[in-house]
Every structure is written in structure tokens, then in C-alpha cells.
Symmetry: C2
Subunit: 518 residues, 2 copies
């Protein structure tokens, strides 16, 4: 291993160069100050585009060839269909048929449906992935089989990276449930309606070539135009671009487990005692069964008191939509719809607003929405006694999840992680997390079924909860309780070979994922 | 005069350098191909902005000082209030009080209300204007009194120039009828509602510092966010930012003159005979009494035939809104509201869409809406026998109008100029126009009270209208008729001193405005 490693501000060894590009190690929250300029795309001219607005080409293959597909390019796709995506595989099938090699795949997230791409990672069609490496792709990466090094970014970090030119996208392919021949596109209607297209915003603005693929072509203008046709080069009409039922997958179903519901209820009670549930407050509950259930408790509290929430950040789901439609919530500022009620509401409710990683999460903007949220409830695979948290690897070192908006959300005024004390008899609270995705200073509260730990940095919360009826404990106490039940977890040994890096929201590297030992 | 002049592709002498910057002479429609990259703004960081989202500063002066106002900067404002703007004067009053010199004012348009700025052009607070120089400012410019050379651009050309870095805006001040503390802003509501803020889009995206001034602060989120707070540095709350009644001014009232109504009717009949009035057709009628009246005739035709228009480009007014609300029109793609019915409709009608110079007019995009319009009806101060047209100067050489969207609109599938044969006994059809704003190849039809001339390049239209009952004539015939009544106009003599240049939509210089002789 010739990669040079340095220790960053959270004490993790990170490479100084990844896939041949120099990197900045994580320096602390708000410490790294960018000094450069945004990425500057080539200036286009209307003289090179059809005056009548019709950019349709016969097939995805034609579009990719016209866009100049060749070895080494970076190709982006988006996860608006989550596990129902039908495009990414097609794109790399075409690339493979054309004998193209060493592509970089830059999805906004990957899902189980993308597992077949391992064959293209094996045969050299794809060099590496910049985006989430979930499930089979994560296992493949963890085993050191990917040619290049994986780069994981949050949704906001992806916008930042594209905006700043850290990732230069050669060809973006945007799956659009409805579009017109000019390339105006929306996700909120059409047979494959998926809600939003915000994850493709950066790509549309900054990619060299932009292809919109739709299975529902409408006469100009396609309204709303979530994606502006003025950024689009080619439009392709396909039979089916995605399976919208499959956006309800994995992390987007509310929990039925009594344990998880207990966590949700304790979290809601904590918020109440902490004075967070006020008229006009704002909240965000991430994906994951427990987090999604919180809204139900918030609803009850608001209804009882005749209050309402001013805004909630989505991922939207039927619970959030019900709050909106019941008048308990004024606005959903949605980033992605987690179920078909969300899609419908996005289309029908004027208070259900289309947001993007630019508005909500981009750390290299003039502020963003994430830091304005009163309380955010998220999941984690592990938390350590310094409140550092992990969302990408399991305790065996295997890379199995993406970051999503998690890193961006923890900038909220109060970040709460409701987590079980252990999973499959493996403690979740550790001396050290396997992979640091978020620094402890941004994690305020850990809620477990056996007690709630408040970050000592949050003296205000400790003071407010000092006479609480809730079981307030230290994080060390919680860890000890878990270990008393499960035993002290053994330290896992890794190789010294980086297989992926975790970017912080500012583009610096906060941690490394190491190749697992056989 | 040491300025080097060259003859461009329409035979006009244009300077090779303006205000110290090299220039490209006009090369023909679609001939100049940009090779560079878009302007790249500095990368911001959320670490430098308040985490709670509150960007309010106490006063406009504070905001300007915080934004670093200093000598030689380029300051932009916008004409959403048209003649009711209250901000531009305040900004330059502040600059003057601070002793700042040599500013460039880059408004999206100027109006009579800006006449007091001549004092700051005189005392050196403002060096020159890049934007329209109407009325008193135009006269001031024409008389050679402006320190620098004025640069006139179309609305699309302004977006192009800002996008491409031809104009680098140091500080943009956006008057927002409604905004939140984060800088999200909308024009469609609030006591000073003006409809849209699209002319400020480029500025928000590319200016170094962006100030939003509002007289209607609402709790976050301000919905809709026509301007994204993520681009905004400071928010200022003022007593009154503009007089919305005054957006109905000058060119935005429908004509009552029987002569003008005749022109409108002839134009509509021409469109009908040319086969343009079809189910689903699209149209745009510019500002100016005659053009605005066309919609009334289109409405009658559509209603009679049970047809509807798919979309119309605004400037919206009560006539267009009535078409939308009567179901004769599916969408208004609006660029600016010309009256308060337009403002109301923008707020209330889902089919009344917010567009911008980016979507509609930017020639350095991947297409724009303007070239997709079936027919556009515009005004002109002069047209010549080669169909070149002028919209900025009068026949005495005086610069009195801005270009607006005119240059952008003439890319439509059929551009018609309904104009009187003469004004105040001065013929409107000339051997040569005083200033070429649009090349003849893009002007298809001239409609006058005494006959209609079709550009010989449009063989298809000549063929369609060959058995017309309308008085189809050649443009030379029309010119002769005018001269038979008014006499041959005398050639006006100018100095050889350029006082302003007219940019084409691609940033090249299509013509020069010369200092008038005393």
C-alpha cells in the first residue's frame, strides 16, 4: 500500500490522495474554508440546439453516443425511484456493449436493484463509484474488489462536490416521470410518478451533457419544470423508466415493532420536555422506521394543544402528508417522497414544496435549510462515547449503507438519534465507531430503550431535562448496560487498504473504509 | 476620438473596445460561437452565514457597507416595479453620501423614475450604465454627457452577459415584495406585489453579494421562493420598496386609438390567413398598445372555433389573464406582469407560470423558449427596406428606449411588427434604420395601416398569402407611400463619438449609438 495517510481532526487516518486526486483531511466543523470558485460549465449556444425545441433522439444509446460517451467518463444517475430504478443498469449495459471502460458511476444513491453492476465493476466497465455503496455493492467494495476507491458523500456533499468541481460529470441521465421534447421535466406526475427530481438538480446545472429519459412525453410546456429544459441536451422516450411502487422500500416504512415505537415515543416526550414542541416549530424525521414514526407522536401533541408546525423537512410519507392535510403542519419542504402518498401530495398540495440538495443541504452555499430545523430525528448503525456516529458500516466493518442527507441534517438545532441499545446482541454504543460519519459535537441526544443520553456540550438541554421523568443517563452508562447484556464487543481487525472514503459536507475526508479481512 | 471602429456583419461601425474591454463585432445570426466557460462565482461556506438562517441587517446602508461597496463596483437593480421603483435612487444616494465614485449601474431596465440619477452620472458617482437608457437618461447619454459608454442589452442578453462573465456584478440589490429572513423572496404577494422577480435571477446566481430588500417580511419559508435565499447574503426590511400601481406605465396599456386597433386587427387576420391560429398554437405580444391588443382578436377567433392556445409568453396583462381564465389559453409563461391582474393571476392561477430570462431568452443556453413561439407581435421605432429594425433610438438619433426582450423574441417562428407608416409625419419605414437592433432576416412581416409587407426570405408566407384579401405589398411600396405623404426624410448627421453600443443576444456588438450634433 503506497497511499499516504494522515490523521484528521477526529483522529482518523485518511488518504491524502484518492483515485489520483489530492484530498483535504477533515479539519473540524466549519474549519475548512473554500477559497476557489464554483465549477464553470462550458458556455452553450442556442445555435447548436433545435430552434423548435425538439431535442428527442431515438434511443438511450443514441443519446449516450451523441453525448460523446467514452472511456474514463463520469456518468451520473439519480435515486428518485430508489429500489425501482431501471436506468442505471441500461446505461452500463450500453457502455459495456460499446466496449467502454473505466467509467465512474456517480449516482445520488444506490439500491439493491443496482447489485447487477458488480459485473461491470469486475470487468472494468466501471472503475469506481462516487455515491453510496449499499448492500451487494458495499460488500463488493469492502472486500477490496473495486478497481478504484469508492467515495461516499451526503446528498448535500454531492451538490457541493458537483458545484465546486470536485466531481465533474460528463454525462447525466435523468429519469423523468413526465417531460416535454425540450427537456423540461417533473417527477410529480405520469405513470411512473416518483415525486421529485431534486437530486438531479446539480447534474442538470453542471454536467457537460444532460440526457432526460421519460416514459411520459407531454406537449410543451411540461409543468411544473422541476428540471429546466434549458440545461438539457437530449430527450429519450422509453417504455418504462422506473417502478414507482418501489420507492417504498427498505428504510421508508414506519415501524410496527413495539421496541421501536417505544423509542419514537420517548423521543417525542424528550422533545416536549426540552420545549421543542412549540407552535410554529420545525422538524425533520429521516428515513428509517423509528424516525418515521415520530411524526405520529408529534401530531397527537399538536392536535391536543391546538398548535401547528410551521414546516417539516421531508422525505415525505403518508404521516407527514396527513399532518399537512389535517392542518397540523403548514409546509412540507420535501427532498424526496418516501411513498406514493408523498407523490400525490407533492402534486396536489400547494403547501408541499419541492426542495433540492441545493436549498436544503449544500454546505458551500450562503446558508441552507438544514441548520434552521428545530429538531431532527435520525438513525445510526453505531454511536460512540464521544457521540460520534456511524451510518455507513456495520460493526464488522462491512460497508452497507449510504450517507443520504444524514450528515447535512445533523446541523439542526437539536439532533436526536433514537437507536436500540443493541442489534442482534451487538452493542450499538461503542468506545469507538467503526466509521465516523458525523462528529460528536453535532449529535445532541441519544435515545435508547433503556435511557436517554444528552451530549455534555448541550448544557442547555441538560438543565432543561434535569427534573425529567424520562430516564436521563450518561452515554457511558448506556454503553455499560449494553455490554452487561451482550458482553464487550471484540475489536475488529481490518487491512490497511482503503476501499472507500467518507467525505464530510465540505469535501474534506472524515474517515476511511478499510478492506475487511477474510 | 481614438476608439478603433470596425464594420460588422450588418455593415455598421462598432468599437472594438468599450469601457476598456475588448469587444466582438456582430457576425450574423448564430455565427458567433462562444468557446469559454460560464462565470464562476466564489464558493461560499455555510460557516460564514448564520446557522439560524437570519440574515437581516438594520438598513440598506449597512447591507451595502457589509457587501463591501467601493469605487468602481458594478451594482445591479431590477425593473419589476417598472416606473414604481424606489430602490435604485436610494442605493446611489447612499453611495454618494459615502463618497463612492465610478460605479457601474447594471439595471435590468430603467424608467422615467430613474431620471434623478443624471446628477450622479454628472458628479461621477456613476461612471456608466449597462442596461436601458430611457427618457432623460437616454437624452443625457445621446448628448455625450455620460463618462463611460452605455451598453444596451436585451433581457436575454443581460442573462447571457452575467452568466458568461461579460458583466461581473459586485452587488445585486433585489426589491422583494415578500421575503423571509433567509432571503427567500417572491414578487407575487405582499403590499407591493409586482408579480415576478425573474430579471434578478442571473444576479442572484452570479453576483458576488446579494441583498434582498423587502417591505413584507414573513416567517420562513417565504413561498414561493422565486429567488432562493441560498444565494442571498443580506436581508433588509424597508418601509416601502416600490409602487406596484406604477407597473402599469407607458408601454403596458392597451390602445384605444382606432388606427392602432386597425393594425392589431390586420395582424390577427394575417395570422389567421397564414395558418398560425391553430388549436394549441403559441404566441407572444410584447409591450406597446398595439401588440397588447392582438390578444383580444386572437381570443375572439379561438372562442368562435372552439380552439385554445397551448401557451402564451407574457408580459401578462388583463387580456392574457382573461384568456387563461376563460379557458382559451392553457398556460401563461410569464416574464413580467404588466398590470395588477397579471400579478393576481400569477399568485392564483396554477397555469400562470413564473419564467425568467434564463428559461425564455438566454441565447447561451441549451435552447430557450423564444424560438419555440409560433408568432410574436412586437413594436419598433423604425424598420428599413432590408427589414432591419430599431427599437432604441428615434429618427433624430436620440436614445430613448431599452431593448427589453425584443431581440430575443424575434427568434420566434413568425415575427410580426405592426407599425404605423409614419409618426408625427416622420416615416417609420426607411432606407436605413438609425440603429439596427435586430437583423432583417429575423423580421418576417411588417403590418401597417396601408398594407402588409412579407420578408422575401419567407417564401412560405408569400405563397400562403398569395390570394389574400389583405393588402399585401412590398416594403418598398410601403416606404414610397409614406414618403409620398411625408416627404423623403432628411439624413441626420451625427458625431463620430460612440455614446452607447447595442449588444446582440450573443454578446457581440450589432450597432453603435452616436453622440447627437447640437
Amino acid at each position: 500500500m503506497s497511499t499516504k495517510l494522515v490523521k484528521n481532526a477526529v483522529g482518523r487516518l485518511v488518504p491524502t490522495e484518492v483515485n489520483g486526486k489530492p484530498q483535504v483531511p477533515y479539519m473540524g466543523v466549519g474549519k475548512y474554508k473554500p477559497t476557489g470558485r464554483k465549477y464553470a460549465p462550458l458556455i452553450a449556444s442556442c445555435a447548436d440546439y433545435p430552434a423548435d425545441g425538439n431535442k428527442i433522439v431515438p434511443s438511450l444509446k443514441d443519446a449516450l453516443i451523441k453525448a460523446g460517451l467514452r472511456d474514463g467518463m463520469t456518468i451520473s444517475t439519480h435515486h428518485h425511484f430508489r429500489n425501482g430504478d431501471l436506468l442505471a443498469i441500461q446505461i452500463f449495459d450500453i457502455a459495456h456493449d460499446l466496449g467502454i471502460k473505466d467509467l465512474v458511476w456517480a449516482p445520488s444513491a444506490s439500491f439493491e436493484c443496482h447489485s447487477p453492476l458488480t459485473k461491470y465493476l469486475e470487468d472494468g466497465t466501471i472503475h469506481h463509484i462516487e455515491g453510496s455503496m449499499n448492500g451487494a455493492l458495499g460488500k463488493f467494495t469492502s472486500e477490496g474488489k473495486m478497481k478504484g476507491t469508492g467515495i461516499l458523500r451526503s446528498h448535500g456533499g454531492r451538490y457541493q462536490a458537483v458545484q465546486d468541481g470536485d466531481v465533474v460529470i460528463d454525462i447525466a441521465v435523468i429519469a423523468a416521470p413526465t417531460a416535454d421534447f425540450f427537456g423540461n421535466a417533473t417527477g410529480d406526475r405520469g405513470p411512473a410518478a416518483c415525486g421529485l427530481l431534486g437530486f438531479a438538480l446539480a447534474d442538470s446545472q453542471y454536467a457537460n451533457k444532460v440526457i432526460v429519459a421519460t416514459d411520459n412525453l407531454v406537449p410543451f410546456p411540461c409543468v411544473p419544470w422541476q428540471i429546466h429544459g434549458n440545461y438539457v441536451d437530449y430527450v429519450v422516450v422509453l417504455d418504462k423508466i422506473g417502478i414507482s411502487e418501489k420507492i417504498v422500500s427498505g428504510t421508508t416504512e414506519v415501524t410496527k415493532s413495539p421496541d421501536r415505537l417505544l423509542l419514537a415515543e420517548m423521543t417525542a416526550l424528550f422533545c416536549d420536555e426540552a420545549g421543542i414542541i412549540r407552535d410554529g416549530f420545525s422538524f425533520q424525521a429521516g428515513a428509517g422506521g423509528t424516525a418515521l414514526s415520530i411524526g405520529i407522536y408529534f401530531s397527537e401533541m399538536l392536535k391536543e394543544r391546538g398548535m401547528k408546525s410551521r414546516w417539516a423537512r421531508g422525505g415525505s410519507n403518508k404521516y407527514l402528508v396527513k399532518m399537512l392535510e389535517d392542518g397540523l403542519l403548514e409546509y412540507i419542504l420535501d427532498g424526496q417522497t418516501f411513498d406514493l402518498d408523498g407523490v400525490r401530495s407533492m402534486r396536489e398540495n400547494p403547501g408541499h414544496l419541492n426542495t433540492s440538495p441545493f436549498t436544503s443541504y449544500n454546505y458551500h452555499g450562503k446558508g441552507n435549510f438544514a441548520s434552521m430545523v428545530d429538531v431532527v430525528i435520525l438513525g445510526a448503525t453505531e454511536v460512540d462515547v464521544n457521540y460520534n456516529a456511524n451510518v455507513v458500516t456495520h460493526s464488522d466493518g462491512m460497508l452497507l449503507h449510504g450517507i443520504g442527507g444524514w450528515q447535512n441534517c445533523i446541523f439542526s438545532k437539536c439532533t436526536i438519534l433514537p437507536i436500540p441499545l443493541f442489534r442482534d446482541r451487538i452493542p450499538v454504543i461503542r468506545d469507538e465507531v467503526t466509521t465516523i460519519c458525523g462528529p460528536g459535537e453535532l449529535i445532541d441526544v441519544i435515545v435508547t430503550e433503556r435511557g436517554i443520553a444528552i451530549n455534555p456540550l448541550r448544557k442547555d438541554l441538560l438543565e432543561k431535562l434535569k427534573d425529567s421523568k424520562l430516564p436521563i443517563k450518561t452515554i457511558e452508562q448506556l454503553k455499560d448496560e449494553a455490554e452487561a447484556i451482550c458482553g464487550k464487543p471484540e475489536k475488529i481487525e481490518y487491512t490497511d487498504e482503503p476501499v472507500a472514503v467518507i467525505k464530510w459536507v465540505d469535501g474534506t475526508i472524515i474517515d476511511t473504509v478499510w478492506k475487511v479481512k477474510k
